[in-house]
């Protein structure tokens, strides 16, 4: 069974994302062997309404800005959050809101889903992380210990560990079952992305100063072991946002002045320069296959990229003044994006 976890793990770590969110593991089943049919439904959603490259706005909105959006596992549903302190569950085909949760803890800029698709890990504005049941909105666990602003969260593929980083002076790791705070890794700058490696015992991070670091969770807790195993320098523009690829070895980093570069996360060498925008990159995502990417930013544009060639395939406009989050469906036929006017939109990629 162990080898079966690898594709699940890779997908959990890397897929995609809103300015910071990842699609659920089950929805990625097309590339694993468990036989789930998430993508079949997603294709039918697309076929039911939208022509290729057509975008449609959902029928509600998040006040003064959407912050995160992600497809839920295999049911044609999506979840989003915004500065209006709400989380909304959407029916993707109709664009209608099917559920609505309110309160400060439903104000989050990143989402990690459990492998069974039932639970969501999200950061609250008070730096607490909440692990909650998507169906009911009820908290299962809270993770405390961070002092300030967690903006990026991750769940390990085996579901046992949770991690978060952001404006705090450290990356934190918790045990999901007990809520126990396990590790605290001091960082030099803000953390724009954390992701577990498929082995469940290493974390990767991208910091605002362009460093991509690897951390060991299993090592004994002492001062030296709270340092990264290694870091590489990436980025030549103040880093605004990043997403790891499913293989864990590539990372797409966007900059404040519009740079968008796919990096070798192990060596710190640039692999592809994606040229098209000169505006602040606010959201990036890499598709499960690793072949496609999405970016969005202050030019009000969402771009679909071919990562094999580094070329732009298509683009579409948002209704707001900037795109704040983007996400792929597991089968890569649909994209979701949100913007600073609170709108959430679905975009047919095929």
């Amino acid at each position: 069974m162990t080898h079966m976890r690898i594709p699940l793990a890779m997908l959990l770590v890397a897929l995609a994302v809103c300015s910071r969110s990842r699609p659920p593991v089950p929805a990625a089943s097309g590339s694993s062997a468990d036989g789930r049919r998430a993508e079949t439904r997603a294709v039918s959603v697309s076929a039911s309404g939208l022509r290729r490259l057509e975008a449609r706005r959902f029928s509600g909105q998040h006040g003064n800005g959407a912050l995160s959006v992600i497809f839920l596992a295999g049911a044609g549903q999506a979840i989003s959050s915004g500065v209006d302190d709400t989380a909304r569950i959407w029916d993707v085909a109709s664009g209608a809101e099917s559920k609505h949760f309110s309160g400060p803890r439903f104000h989050f800029q990143d989402i990690a889903l459990s492998s069974d698709g039932h639970f969501s890990l999200t950061p609250a504005p008070d730096a607490t992380l909440h692990y909650w049941t998507i169906d009911s909105g009820h908290d299962v666990r809270q993770f405390t210990g961070a002092k300030m602003g967690i903006g990026t969260v991750a769940l390990s593929a085996d579901g046992k560990l949770a991690a978060g980083g952001g404006q705090d002076t450290a990356i934190h790791v918790w045990e999901v079952a007990s809520g126990k705070h396990l590790r605290q890794f001091p960082v030099n700058a803000n953390v724009v992305r954390v992701a577990f490696e498929p082995d469940n015992s290493h974390l990767r991070s991208v910091e605002g100063d362009g460093r991509v670091c690897t951390w060991s969770i299993d090592r004994d807790r002492d001062k030296d072991n709270d340092k990264p195993l290694g870091c590489v320098a990436a980025g030549s523009d103040p880093v605004s946002q990043a997403a790891f690829a499913a293989d864990g070895h590539k990372v797409l980093i966007g900059g404040r002045y519009g740079s968008l570069v796919l990096w070798d996360a192990d060596r710190g060498t640039p692999l592809r320069k994606l040229q098209g925008s000169e505006a602040d990159i606010v959201a990036v995502a890499i598709a499960p296959s690793g072949n496609l990417a999405l970016s969005g930013g202050a030019d009000q544009t969402v771009r679909l990229w071919d990562l094999k060639t580094g070329t732009q395939i298509a683009s579409t406009k948002s209704s707001g003044s900037y795109v704040s989050c983007v996400a792929f469906s597991a089968d890569e036929t649909l994209a979701l994006f949100g913007s600073d006017d609170g709108a959430i939109m679905v975009w047919a990629l095929q």
Binding site: S19, G63, N64, G65, L67, V83, H107, F108, Q109, P123, P125, M148, G149, G151, G166, Q167, D168, T169, V187, N188, A189, N190, V191, V192, G208, D209, G210, D237, P238, S240, Q241, G254, R256, Y257, G258, S259, E278, A279, D280, I281, V282, A283, G297, A298, S321, Y322, S324, C325, D340, D341
Partner: protein, 256 residues
């Protein structure tokens, strides 16, 4: 404790489960009204420790002292009393151009971050074109407010530029603190304070470090900083503008 005249120090605790001697309650109510570090209606200074007084104490503890569980009480030797009595006498660069509430909060935040409040004020004076406005906006980049939050920065902080523009400058300071927090206790020069906003990679680097070179988008958007117009913007050139704001902000009519 220089702010209050002689004879106005509290003797016993005030607030929830406090002793609440009338003379002490009067002092605390007046101190809260003098500072109003939170957007509250002024208290009725009546010497009675009513629910609105306790609520104001809790709000100060929550917002300014970052207490997770405010106890709603001011003790004569406690942090809340020190906070209420230590602020008004201090003068900072540009302090005359902001509200007392703003200044009070800024001093507290600078203390949390280990940064000279004058450096933070000067960086904000430069970024906000001396307005200290939460909504001042660069229409080209979308950068907004006190430190010109970029759209990506706003999103990372869990907000939006629209939401930032809609809040008070005092409330926006929470996001300034959040933005600077990863660099807590590392910013000892005005150059590095400004680099945190402009180009964090340059924190700790020499003043000759080149931030942006021509031709690049970053250079074009910041070309006004290239004082000698040689196609390179160094850390020193970029920070020169903020240093000029420091000199101005410490001058008559601005210091306060």
């Amino acid at each position: 404790m220089a702010a209050m005249p002689n004879g106005t120090r509290i003797v016993h605790s005030v607030g929830r489960k406090g002793t609440n001697d009338r003379s002490d309650v009067l002092i605390i109510q007046q101190l809260i009204n003098d500072n109003l570090p939170v957007p509250l209606m002024p208290l009725n200074v009546n010497g009675i420790c009513d629910p609105s007084t306790i609520f104001a104490i809790e709000e100060i503890q929550r917002r300014n002292l970052h207490m997770k569980r405010p106890d709603g009480r001011v003790d004569p030797d406690g942090a809340t009393y020190r906070f209420l009595t230590s602020i008004p006498g201090q003068k900072i660069a540009w302090g005359a151009k902001v509200s007392t509430a703003f200044k009070t909060k800024l001093i507290k935040i600078a203390g949390n971050l280990g940064v000279d409040p004058d450096f933070l004020m000067s960086a904000m004076a430069f970024e906000s074109a001396e307005t200290f406005s939460a909504s001042v906006k660069n229409t080209a980049s979308g950068a907004t407010g006190l430190i010109q939050f970029m759209p990506s920065t706003a999103t990372s902080l869990g907000t939006s530029t629209t939401a930032l523009a809609a809040m008070t400058a005092e409330d926006q300071l929470d996001y300034v603190e959040k933005y600077f927090n990863p660099y807590k206790n590392k910013l000892t020069t005005i150059e590095d304070v400004y680099m945190t906003i402009l180009w964090p990679n340059a924190i700790g680097k020499a003043n000759s470090y080149v931030l942006f070179s021509k031709p690049s988008v970053a250079y074009t958007q910041n070309s006004g900083l290239d004082a000698n117009n040689d196609g390179d913007i160094t850390k020193e050139e970029a920070a020169a503008m903020v240093k000029a704001k420091l000199v101005k902000g410490r001058g008559a009519g601005y210091l306060g």
